[in-house]
C-alpha cells in the first residue's frame, strides 16, 4: 500500500514556530533571530544595541547556549529582560525551546525581542523559531570567504552585520570583495558594517531595528 504524505519534514518545528509567531503577533512584538559562528560578536552587539536604544526601545533577549549562563548574565547586567536556554549539547535552538522562554518574558512590556542562537553557522539556519527575520553576523577575523562556504545562513537572513571592522588593519579581510559575494548570494540582504569596539555602524543598525519595530507596530 502506498501512502501519500507530502508533509514537510520539520513540520513539528514549523507548527511550534507558527504558534510563537502568532503569540508575538498578538503583542505586535518584533523578533530577530541572531545567527553566527561562535564568537562573532552576537552578545557584544546586543550589549551595544541595548545601551544605544535604552531611551527608545524596551529590548528583551532569549539567550541560546549549549552550556553556561554567561551571556544571559551579561545582558541582565544591563537591566534588560532575559531568559537563558541551555541546550546541553544540541547544536541549534528549536521553536519548542523558544516557546518555553516566551512564557517567562514580560512580552507586553517589550518593543523588540532578540533570540541569540547557539554559535554555529550551519545548523541553526534550518530551524524557524517564529521570528520576524534572521540576522547573520560575520566577523572580519573569520575571513571573507565564509558566505560562499557556509551559504544557507546568509540566504535565509534579511540582514547581515559585518562585525569587528576595527580589526580590518590586522587581517586580510577583503571588505569590498566580501560585499560583492554577499550580494550575489542574497541580493536583497541589508548589510551593516560595524565595530562594537569603536561604535562604527551601530547607529545605522539601530535605525534599521527601529524601522522593524515600527513596521510591526503599524503594519502596512
Amino acid at each position: 500500500m502506498k501512502v501519500i504524505v507530502a508533509r514537510p519534514l520539520l513540520q513539528a518545528n514549523d507548527v511550534l514556530a507558527r504558534q510563537n509567531a502568532a503569540l508575538l503577533g498578538d503583542y505586535r512584538l518584533a523578533a530577530v533571530n541572531l545567527l553566527s559562528s561562535p564568537g562573532s560578536g552576537k552578545t557584544t552587539l546586543l550589549e551595544k544595541t541595548i545601551t544605544y536604544l535604552h531611551d527608545q526601545l524596551r529590548v528583551g533577549v532569549v539567550e541560546g547556549d549549549i552550556y553556561t549562563a554567561r551571556d544571559a548574565e551579561r545582558i541582565a547586567g544591563l537591566g534588560a529582560a532575559v531568559v537563558q536556554i541551555n541546550t546541553s549539547g544540541t547544536c541549534h535552538l528549536n521553536a519548542g525551546m523558544v516557546a518555553g522562554s516566551l512564557e517567562e518574558l514580560p512580552l507586553a512590556e517589550l518593543d523588540l525581542l532578540f533570540i541569540e542562537n547557539v554559535g554555529n553557522l550551519v545548523c541553526p539556519a534550518s530551524f524557524d523559531l517564529g521570528e520576524d527575520c534572521k540576522v547573520v553576523l560575520l566577523s572580519v577575523a573569520e575571513g571573507g570567504d565564509k558566505p560562499a562556504k557556509y551559504p544557507l545562513a546568509f540566504q535565509e537572513a534579511r540582514a547581515a552585520v559585518i562585525t569587528k571592522v576595527d580589526l580590518l588593519p590586522y587581517t586580510d579581510f577583503d571588505l569590498a570583495g566580501c560585499l560583492v559575494e554577499l550580494r550575489s548570494i542574497n541580493p536583497g540582504l541589508e548589510i551593516f558594517i560595524t565595530s562594537a569596539r569603536n561604535g562604527e555602524g551601530i547607529a545605522g543598525w539601530c535605525r534599521w531595528l527601529q524601522f522593524l519595530v515600527s513596521s510591526k507596530r503599524s503594519p502596512d
Binding site: M1, K2, V3, I4, V5, A6, R7, P8, L9, L10, Q11, A12, N13, C91, H92, V122, C123, A125, S126, P147, A148, P151, L152, Q155, R183, S184, I185, N186, P187, G188
Partner: protein
C-alpha cells in the same frame, strides 16, 4: 543541517502516518530534499539505516530525490540553475530572482504492508511510534 534531525523527524512522521493507516511494516520511503537545505544522500542513508531498527521503518528502503535550485529572473524571464551560490541571472545580469525550486524538504510518500486487526494498537503518539 544536521542529518540526524532530518532523519529523526522523518522516522517520527512516517511511523505516525503508518500507524494512522494501519501499516505495520514500511518498505519504502520517498524523501524530497531541495539543494538549499543540503544534506549528502550518503549521510542521510547512513542515518536512516542507524535510526530505523526497532521502528516500523526497520529494513525499509530510503529513496532520496534532490531538487536542484531553479531560479526565475524577473527582468528577462529566464529560468536558470545558478552556478555556485550566485543568484545573478546569466541572461541579463539582474539579481532579484524568485526561487522556483530548491527549498523543498518533505516526505513525498511511503509504501508498506497492512496487517488485518493490528491497526491502532497501543499508544499512537508520534514519539512512541518512532520507538524513542
Amino acid at each position: 543541517m544536521h542529518e540526524l534531525s532530518l532523519i529523526q523527524s522523518l522516522v517520527e512522521l512516517v511511523a505516525y502516518s503508518a500507524r494512522e493507516n494501519g501499516i505495520t511494516r514500511v518498505t519504502l520511503v520517498k524523501l524530497v530534499v531541495g539543494e538549499y537545505h543540503g544534506a549528502l544522500p550518503g549521510a542521510l542513508q547512513f542515518a536512516f539505516s542507524c535510526l530505523t531498527p526497532d521502528t516500523p521503518l526497520a529494513g525499509a528502503e530510503l529513496e532520496i530525490e534532490i531538487k536542484p535550485v531553479k531560479l526565475h529572473c524577473h527582468s528577462c524571464g529566464l529560468v536558470f540553475s545558478p552556478s555556485g551560490w550566485s543568484a545573478v541571472c546569466p541572461g541579463c545580469g539582474s539579481s532579484t530572482p524568485d526561487v522556483l525550486q530548491g527549498r523543498e524538504l518533505f516526505v513525498d510518500y511511503f509504501e508498506g504492508d497492512e496487517r488485518e486487526g493490528e491497526a491502532g494498537e497501543s499508544d499512537s503518539s508520534p514519539a512512541a511510534a518512532a520507538g524513542q
